[in-house]
């Protein structure tokens, strides 16, 4: 017999980078899931854009709906009785139409610069025209006008007054970008903390290496909080996501975030960027590659400790959690010394601390710090 051929068609989509890390990561994850969600997509970083390729498959619409529904709030009614639909809900409805998916696909296949495939009438009918699709801080704090970062004066050139009411549109995005960005946002983990009437909400997404295969759906725990503050909660989220992705074996390099701090309903500041957890990510990835169960066990121990102390009101536990989070990010000796001092104090008060106990744990901690 002659060699039969596989007659399947493959598609390659291009996701051009905007330079806003969270928005870019969300769109990349969105495109991969929208077009290859239940199959495998190969992602390659080409510099100005990502190339997402794979065999065309029948999309599983239920899974796409599931991802967006998670962030889509139900419509509300105004006093006058008019129905108001949040952007995510409109996009959820928009994706019901197969014709829309085909247009989205055509847009991402084409090269830069590209124009939206949708006519303005079509968008008006879906309520996705003009100002109605202003991107909120959840897409990336970079889209927000107003104060950015915890020390806004250090970057005074970006400082503008925060507008009241509706968010101001700084950039008008093609609807295709908004749709995939919204879908990608559906996969973000939410990290929240509250202190004295202030609400700090952060959304984080993993950043992968420059060439990887995304197989099936990204699945990890999505909600985190910690009484010791937002940074500790972010570390808990990062470690937890890494552990959840261990069996998927995807090379996570770091995390990107977008964050907003509010006092009541008033926005105080917002920021976005990278969490800077490269050290712990590369440690985890080496452990996954080499099947180093000891390192993975230690990471699980850290996760369990942070999870157990997440709602602790004990200031000693909170302090220990803060230094542990700092140690996870920096892997430095000073934090470790402080951790041990705090542990000694807690032990003195008669409480057990299940963290870095025993000979094996100490050896692993030494290994991850590169101390022989």
């Amino acid at each position: 017999m002659t060699l039969p051929k596989i007659r399947l068609k493959k598609s390659t989509y291009k996701v051009y980078k905007t330079g806003l890390p969270f928005y870019d990561a969300a769109r990349l994850i969105g495109v991969a899931h929208l077009f290859f969600g239940t199959a495998s997509s190969e992602v390659e970083d080409k510099g100005a854009y990502w190339e997402v390729s794979g065999v065309d498959v029948e999309r599983d619409e239920e899974q796409i709906k599931w991802a967006i529904k998670r962030i889509a709030q139900l419509p509300t009614k105004t006093r006058a009785g008019r129905e108001q639909k949040p952007l995510e809900y409109k996009i959820h409805e928009f994706l019901h139409d197969k014709g829309h998916i085909n247009k989205l696909s055509a847009y991402y296949i084409s090269s830069y610069p590209r124009d939206s495939e949708f006519a303005s009438v079509e968008l008006r009918n879906s309520g996705l025209d003009g100002k109605k699709r202003a991107l909120k801080v959840e897409y990336d704090a970079g889209f927000q006008s107003g104060t950015r970062g915890w020390d806004p004066l250090s970057k005074y050139e970006y400082l503008t007054t925060r507008t009241h009411g509706k968010d101001k549109i700084l950039v008008k995005h093609d609807i295709e970008e908004v749709v995939t960005g919204t879908l990608g946002r559906g996969f973000a983990a939410t990290v929240s903390s509250r202190t004295k009437g202030q609400t700090d909400t952060m959304y984080i997404l993993p950043i992968f290496s420059n060439h990887f295969v995304l197989s099936g759906f990204l699945d990890f725990q999505r909600n985190y909080q910690h009484s010791a503050g937002g940074h500790v909660a972010a570390v808990l989220a990062a470690i937890s996501i890494l552990i959840d992705l261990t069996s998927k074996k995807i090379p996570v390099m770091d995390f990107t975030y977008t964050r907003e701090v509010k006092g009541g309903q008033t926005p105080i500041f917002s920021e976005s960027g990278y969490l800077g957890f490269e050290k712990i990510c590369s440690l985890w990835w080496d452990a996954v590659k080499e099947e180093n169960e000891n390192i993975l066990r230690l990471l699980r121990q850290i996760k369990t400790f942070l999870k157990e102390t997440a709602s602790s009101k004990d200031s000693q536990s909170q302090g220990l959690s803060r230094y542990l989070a700092h140690f996870v990010v920096t892997l430095d000796v000073n934090s470790l010394v402080t951790i041990e001092k705090l542990k000694a104090r807690i032990l003195y008060s008669g409480k057990a601390v299940n963290l870095f106990r025993g000979y094996n744990d100490v050896m692993e901690v030494k290994e991850i710090m590169g101390v022989k």
Partner: protein
Amino acid sequence: MPLTVSEAMNILERAYLSGNPNEIEKNLRDMLNIRVAVVSSLEEVVEKIKEGYYPITVTIPYGVFLGKIRERKIEVYLFDFKTIKEGKKPKIVRRSEILPNKTYILFKKDAGYSRKMGLTFEGEGEVTGFERLNDAEKVEKYGVGKEQTWEEHARGACNRVKRILKIYEPFMEDWFRSVFKGQALDEDSIKESIRAIMFAIKVSVLFHDIGKLRKEWQDSVGWRMGQPYIGRTKEKHNVPFHAPYAYPFLGELLSELFGDFRFLDAIALAVARHHSLEVTGRVKQNKFQLADEDVFGFLCTLLKEALELELEDMNNLDKILKRSIEQVNKGSTIDEPPSLSDDFYFIYTLTNRVVKFADWEDASDSLLELADLGGGDNDTS
């Protein structure tokens, strides 16, 4: 059953939350089983084994078994197949010597066994009995395999997989039509693509033991230059692993033959996991030194003959095989198996199943996979 990593983590976390290290031992004892054969006398066991019978066993959790032995002070004998086959009586073991995943013999006066109630340890009961096992089960349970050359086993496994894939063809077709519905392929393209994927699986099964053609492996089983390459033998001394090499080799070979499709990698990985699911796809550089230079020509002819392949340019096939071997020597990084939510997971699990069954069936020379559906013992059509 081996403990999976996630199960082990679960136990550790539970032990941590309860603050009790004994929790780990308790859980492990609940999860691990031992097999028990209930007999009337030790002489009977020796006699039956000589006649080619094997004891029927019942499983019982390890912890429960230990508890009963301590409570009732029962005599326990170890079932060691090799010793008994030599005509020696089973040895009595102390409670501290009882290990999980082993088979033990109890007398019917102590075990209180009945078919309805199982092991009750309450007075006199029935025996579990004996059965005549087919060769495949012997291989699985007692490590008794037949000696084969590499070529015999490759051809044998390939013939077995042809029958097994025929059974699975309708499922494959159904999967293909539903997953690739959006491609709107014409009927001929669908049929040809399905044939191509099945063919890729057959090629993979043919070369599933490619790692055994390494010089290091052949040397470890006493192969000498000029002899046919060894595939299966009882003369094993520190045999190096072979299965993981199938991943980079088949990954390259299949993509050369059929094009760059991700699910071909999934087929390669499933085949590399024909002994253990722990194989990640990682292979070190320059570890694939062939037994001798004749391997290329041998593989080329085998591929052509075993799969009745008509290729116009055999020279090209030789080059493809060389490139595939070179690819193995470049080393490979960790691979990602398809996840449960992945459309290609079906093809991964199907390949993993058929390669295992083809391997076992050929090693034991019997029909295992859905034997009722496919002819007699020697039906490999």
